[in-house]
Symmetry: D2
Subunit: 140 residues, 4 copies
C-alpha cells in the first residue's frame, strides 16, 4: 500500500533566524498530515459506521520521536509520507517521512493510544477497532 | 490608574529570518496580556459574583489594528502596557503598547464586543456589565 | 483583474477551545497568502529583473487591520482573495478577504511600506518600483 | 546540582479544542527553557570567553523524544525542570520534565550535536567544549 502523502509549503513565519523551519513546527505538520489522511479515508465522515462496541473510541498521542537529518527552508515544498509502522492491541505507531525534493530531512514517529471514555471517568485504554485498522491499512 | 503591565521574553521560535518577531505573534502576545490582566483583577475568579442579569455575558474580539514603529528581537524583554481606551455600551477598546527598553515598538488596539448566548441561538450583542467596567477601570 | 486566491485548510492546532481559529493565525495566513501571490507572479524569481535603480528595494508591514464577522473552524477550507486596494508613492495596501464556502468571515488589510537599505544605516522609505506595481496589477 | 527551572504560563492560543495544550507547543516550550538556561548561566554573554579552539562552536537539535502522561490546560502554570542527562564527546542530551502543581505531565529529551562551521562547507560534528560542560554542570 503506497503511503498517504501530504504536501506542505513552508510558511515564512515558520522559519527561524537560521533560515530553517523551527523544530516545533514539524510536530504541527505531522498532526496536520494525520488529519488529512483521516479525512482522505473517510474516518468519521458520512460513511463511517463502526459497530456499536466501537462507538466512543478515540485515540491520542502518547509518545513522539523526531530525527533531523536536515531542515526545510523558506519556499520549500515539503512532502510528508505517512504509513502505519506498527499495529498493537491498544496502540499503534505512524511514521512520517518529511522530505524536500525527494530527500528525507526529518523522520517523525508518533505512538497513538486508543481510548474509550465513560461519563465521570478519565479515558481508559481500549483496543483499536478493526474498522479503524482497515482504513489505514496494514503496517509496513 | 496605572496601566496593567505584562512582560514577555521573546522566544527564539517567534523570531523570523530577518531577526525580528514575526508579525502574527504580536496578536498572540496581546491576547495573552489580556488573559493575564483579567486573572490579575479576579475576573471569573473565586470572588467574581456579578448580578444575575450579568450572568452568561462574554466578549469577543471584533476588530484589531496593529501599528509597527519597530520590532522586538530575540532575547528582548518586551513589556506590554494595557489600558481600556474606550468604553461603549456593548463594546470597548483595549490599547496595548508593546515596548522594549522603554521604547514603544508596536501599538495594538483590540475592539471587543459584549455578547450573551441563549440556547439554540447565536450570541447577541449585550451591554458591558458595570461589574466588568469596574474591574478594568476608567478609559484613559 | 481577478483577485489572487490562496487556499488554506484549517489545521487542528490553529483552533482554540471555542472551536474557532485563534485570532493571531489569520495574520499568519495572510502573510502566507502574500508569499504565494509573489511567487505566482514571479517576484524575485528567475525572470525578475527590475531596473538598476530599483535594486535593493524591499517592503515591510507597517500597519494591519482585521475585522471579524465570523470565524473559521476545524476542517474548514478557507479561501483568501488578495487584491491591492491602494497604491501610494512609497506605500501600498493589500486587502485580504478570508472566506469559507463563499462567505467572507474576516477582512484583513495590510499596509506595506517600501524601503531601501544602505550599508550602516536603517532602511529608508523608498518609492514603490513600477515593475513591482505591474506584477500585482492596478488597485481595485 | 539542582535542575534549572523555567516557568511557563499556558497561553489561551496554545490550547486546542480538547482544552489541552496542543502537542507541538511542548517542543517550543523546551526550546525556550533551554534559551533561558543558557542566558542564566551566561552562555555567549559578556563574560563568556572560551579558548580559541572553542570559538565558532555551536550546537543543534538532532533528535527529540516526547512522552505524555498528561496535559497542561489553559491557566496552568507549568514548570520545566532542565538537566543534562548525558554528556557525550560531540553530543549531549538534555531532559526536560514539564509539570503542573508538582506532577510531571510531559517528559522531553533533546539530543544536541556540537558542530563547527567553516566558510563554504556544511557544519561538521565537533567536540563539546569543556567550558560549555562546566556551564551546564554534570549529567544527572
Amino acid at each position: 500500500m503506497a503511503p498517504f502523502v501530504h504536501d506542505v509549503r513552508v510558511r515564512y513565519g515558520e522559519v527561524d533566524m537560521q533560515g530553517v523551519v523551527f523544530n516545533a513546527h514539524y510536530l504541527a505538520w505531522v498532526d496536520d498530515a494525520m488529519s488529512a489522511w483521516l479525512d482522505a479515508v473517510g474516518y468519521r465522515g458520512a460513511s463511517w459506521a463502526p459497530p456499536d462496541e466501537e462507538q466512543g473510541w478515540d485515540f491520542m498521542v502518547r509518545h513522539a520521536t523526531l530525527d533531523w537529518r536536515g531542515s526545510a527552508a523558506f519556499g520549500d515544498h515539503a512532502r510528508i509520507a505517512c504509513t502505519v509502522s506498527r499495529w498493537g492491541t491498544t496502540s499503534f505507531d505512524v511514521a512520517f517521512a518529511i522530505g524536500v525534493g525527494g530527500e528525507v530531512l526529518v523522520d517523525v514517529v508518533l505512538t497513538y493510544v486508543g481510548v474509550r471514555s465513560s461519563p465521570g471517568a478519565p479515558p481508559q485504554p481500549a483496543p483499536v477497532p478493526d474498522a479503524f485498522r482497515s482504513l489505514l491499512g496494514p503496517a509496513t
